[in-house]
């Protein structure tokens, strides 16, 4: 039987790979023999990615809200590697505010970065994946897209939007051997959650049966599984990785 976790020789694009969950995903993919192009918003971020990926990948400065920048990175991958097997849409931002105080630019920037970018990147990789009858798209959603969270109407809307987008696209292209899934992290130990106060953390822990933050590697493991040959029959699904805080 073929190794159902074998990813050797594949090529992956991981957005938002300079730190946190994206970095852990890029590292685990590389460890499994995947060539990874990891993106960051700045040139120095891209250099840092190149440094930690080593021989088997590289960083690339990508602005996911700029359609031309997306076209450029996909063209670069096509010319240099000739294939793209795995797309991990991980780049995301928060601009928290109560709805009554939320500004249009806070709403729009979260939508552009967390949702519209996924539409653009998926559209961009579609032709190649359709032709090769092979592809894995994994979108990083969030537990709060399902549960809601005060102060995050924009972020929750975008993350829930990803789930609907994922289901619709999964149905469109399932017959072409391409799967589209989400991983929805709970509270993970990253810079995004380091911004929380100790009181906020304690309040959150009372709702997490596992009584701890998750590690980025625990999200990456779910992503690697969805990318693997063994997950070929899973599509349109959301895997929740949250220590039990929300069971869907």
């Amino acid at each position: 039987m073929t190794d159902l976790m074998n990813l050797t020789g594949q090529v992956a694009l991981v957005t938002g790979a300079s730190r946190g969950i994206g970095k852990a995903i890029a590292q685990q993919l590389v460890a499994r023999g995947v060539t990874v192009i990891g993106t960051a918003t700045t040139a120095s971020g891209a250099e840092a990615i190149s440094a930690y990926l080593g021989e088997q990948g590289e960083g690339y400065a990508l602005n996911v809200t700029d359609p031309d920048s997306i076209t450029a990175v996909l063209q670069y991958i096509d010319e240099k590697y000739g294939q793209l097997d795995i797309l991990v849409n991980n780049a995301g931002i928060t601009r928290d505010n109560l709805l009554m105080r939320m500004k249009d630019d806070e709403w729009n920037s979260v939508m552009d970065t967390n949702l519209t970018s996924v539409y653009r990147l998926c559209k961009g990789v579609m032709r190649g994946m359709m032709k090769r009858r092979q592809g894995r798209i994994i979108n990083i959603s969030s537990v709060v897209g399902t549960t809601g969270n005060p102060g995050q109407t924009n972020y929750c809307a975008a993350k829930a939007g990803l789930v609907g987008f994922t289901k619709a696209l999964a149905k469109e292209i399932a017959a072409r051997g391409i799967t589209v899934n989400c991983v929805a992290p709970g509270f993970i130990d990253t810079d995004m959650t380091k911004a929380l106060t100790d009181d906020q953390k304690q309040a959150i822990f009372t709702n997490i049966p596992a009584a701890r933050l998750g590690q980025p590697e625990e999200i990456a493991a779910a992503v690697v599984f969805l990318a693997s040959p063994g997950a070929a029959y899973i599509t349109g699904e959301t895997i929740h990785v949250n220590g039990g805080m929300a069971m869907v």
Binding site: R127, M130, K131, E172, I173, A175, R176
Partner: protein, 79 residues
Amino acid sequence: MSTIEERVKKIIVEQLGVKEEEVKPEASFENDLGADSLDIVELVMALEEEFDTEIPDEEAEKIRTVEAAIEYVKSHSGE
């Protein structure tokens, strides 16, 4: 060297998995050849590659029959 007509028909046979004799000029991809909307998108992609051209979306939407595909390629290639 095959004619444009032969090349277009060959692509239709390959993409839609139909028999050559079914690919009549008046045949509709959707109604006669069993194609769904995504099949037609892929067919247009294949035509673009075969004839090294880009078919704009609004033109692609009009390509619904074998004849329309052949006519489009004929009127947009230098041959």
